[in-house]
Amino acid sequence: MKNNKSRFIVILLMLSMVAVACGGDTAEEVAETPEVTEAPKETLAAPATTAPPPEVIVVWAEEKVATALDPLVGAYEAAAGVDVEVVVYDFGAIRTDVQTAGPAGEGPDVFLGAHDWVGELAANGVLQPINLASVASDLFEVGINAFSYDGMSYGFPYATEAIAMYYNADLTDGVPTTWDDVKAACDAAGTELCVGAPGGGGGADAYHNHPFVASAGGYVFKVQGGFDPNDVGLDNEGALASAEYLDTLVKDGVVASTDYGASMSAFQEGRSLFWMTGPWARNDASAVNYNVGLIPSFSDSPATPFVGVRGAMVSSFSDKKLLAESFILDFFATVEVQEAMYNSDPRLPATKSLFAIVEAADPIAAAFAASASNGIPMPNIPEMGSVWGPFGDALLIIRDQAYGTNEETGVTVNSATDAMKLAAEQIRTAIAGG
């Protein structure tokens, strides 16, 4: 009996706590309701006097970019009366998470990412087309093209990047103009390794190796008003010839069997004369007295690196698209913001106005830009997902000289030609077979 009584008291106590919880809840609801329904009316009634809660623009960016952008948005917040919330996000996770968070109603309004996401994101319906008309004259064409998919523009390009050739300025004067002369340069410098380039040493990397197969007529996808997934050119005459030439370079010890980490440490320790990589590695390269030149050409054809373009995109699940686009076009695209961004996170500019500033101040950036101008944008169609694996693997086989026979399938790869033909076949079946 006593037990029951005390239990009753406790239950009463609990109910009262529950009531407190409810109470807190409703109190908040009361506070929230005017925000949702009445605030706009108030704005209409007296736009100048009442201060409606500011609109919030959520921007996802990788750490370096976010750190560069965050101090700048204050100017826009003051001028426009909005809150700009710059969220530091893991770069790769932006691509996947906008696709899950957006449809769930929790994604960003604006996000900064790479142009090769565009095909996938647009096909998935999570990208909002942006009208670049007002800023187009200031943009390099490669940037506009990189963000075009299926006839529409999906992003404002703010940075480009492409690989070029670092050289150890203490040991040599520059990069030879053609690959034929590279060996002699290395022999003269007497370094242990000659060219360190990612994509060997067990670490497949099609991106860094693209110039080795695409400089003399090879291509991943034919460009015919957009990339054509049904025309793979990794085993055409030009591609095969340059792959065989790469094979010779590897056999001659010109191109070392290194992955990214190994090529970096070799260059930093002065064990390699050249390092073939992009502008993001400038800090790492500064361990030695470095300079940057063009990637040597393949006899007459200049090296064509993949050009990556970074841009600001708008989520199609944003409920304030007009504001998001205005933020990009009216603020982010201005040369002041672009320059401040560049100063804090240097990448090759995608706007002509910024390039003019950078070119004069930074010859190394200009060298990378020159390299990019020979390149082609990485295909932005989702079919590219079928390319990286086989393409990287084929080049890894060449770079590591890992030729041989597969006992399971009985297929033999004894030359660079075999490897490229196989990769092209793998890509074609992957695209066709789904």
Partner: protein, 528 residues
Amino acid sequence: MKKSTVLRYLFLAVFNSFIVYAVPLTITFESWFLLSLILIIGLLVNIVYFSDRFLPMKWILPGMIFLISFVVFPAVYNTFVSFTNWSTGHILTKSQAVNILESRTFTPEDQQGIEFDLYVFQDESFEFYYLADIDEQNILFGKAVTNENILDSNFAQHEPSFKQNGEIFPPDGFNLLTGKDQIANSTTLQELSLVIDKNTRAQLFKISVFGASTGLLSSTSQLYTFDESTDSITNNSTNTTCLAEIDNFVCNGKEIDPGWRVFVGFDNYQKLFSNQRIRGPLSLVTKWTFQFAFVTVLLAFSVGLFLSLVLNKENLKFQRIYRAIFILPYAIPAFVSVLVWKGLLNPDYGVINTWLSPIYEILEIEPIQWLKTKESARSAVLLVNTWLGFPYMFLITTGALQSIPKNLIEAAKVDGASSLQTFWRITFPLLMVSISPLLIGSFAFNFNNFTLIFLLSGGGPPVIGSEVAVGWTDILISFSYKLAISGGRGNLFGLASTVSIIIFALVLLISAVSFRYTKRLERIYGNI
């Protein structure tokens, strides 16, 4: 009343407050699944902790809840995904896809790229009006209307008097909005357009807080109109009708992105087993997965057992220190140690080849190209995994060894058994009774040891001549990861889920069989 009872009710009170707090929140976000989950959990907790009859359940209920949320739910969800077409181009629901298609506008070719200053006004009843300053002959003013009212709206009027000497003079009763005001109303403004004629409208596309806002022309009709009765969309720009086919609208044979998610039944399973492209590598990968998991457990167990036997000697000096040293690899996170091993194994600069170089010279052989050839990569993966795994085995066998009654071993000695005989006939079988379930667990873990493969070899080196990209050290789980991100158009989540379901079935089968075998062991040796 007992202190524990008070605590229990206090806990319940706090818990229920959270439930009550969460319910309206989930309703606001229309997250019905979460709502039902919260209600079910809330109900269960209350029943268990209130009633005397179910009170003993309180010990397992929290565990059950975590089991359901973190194990059962993901598994069920995974199964669900494996029956869908979830992949690039098909991640939305149909209504989301239709919404996105219907929100698209288009600009007829002759009006493309026409860009002009657009001014926003409000009248006294706070309705919005636009002034589109297209050119001298077209300074168009009118009420801005939403999409639903476009057809009924009056056309904008040319009002040259509103703009004089480059300055805007709003008519009486109209209030010109600054960029900041426009931004405060941007969610309303983005739905509005100024109707210029039957086919053309002007829309705001950039609000400028530093200058004049800009507008663009577009067609008054949206690009796609959805017709529910025929389940089709019409492209108003080209006047073609596109029927819905399974998971896409198809216009003249071309699929319109985005598509949507649908159930595809056993399609993914069928694809996996019938598609030669996938089946070929699948059998190769399955074989290696079994080899990898089995050899790993065998090696790690052998090394661990050997060390624990050696260190189990009584009156061994510094025993604790030795044991601590051997447990160290277990204490370092695999993420770190695997990457360190990757560096050590580098054939050209790695420490391992540097140390082995005298041996290479004596034997006059080429240095091993770690991770670059099939054999070396597989050995490296096994080597590193043994290193990662033996401390665990060492730990559990040490414990199990100490629990074996000493008198049994003494009895064996008295009977004249050699120490080897004692080990194989007495110690080892007794050990297996308590260790074998753990070995099975370890096998199941290594069957899915994605971390190691992904970080150490990335599945490589590539298998020459296979039709999909696959590596010699790829195990099922890393293969399904590759499959998920490198299909025809990128991500094939449905197919990858299917592979993981198959992995689940395999592990289940192996574990069930092994546990049955273990039970037999227990029956034989358990009653010694």
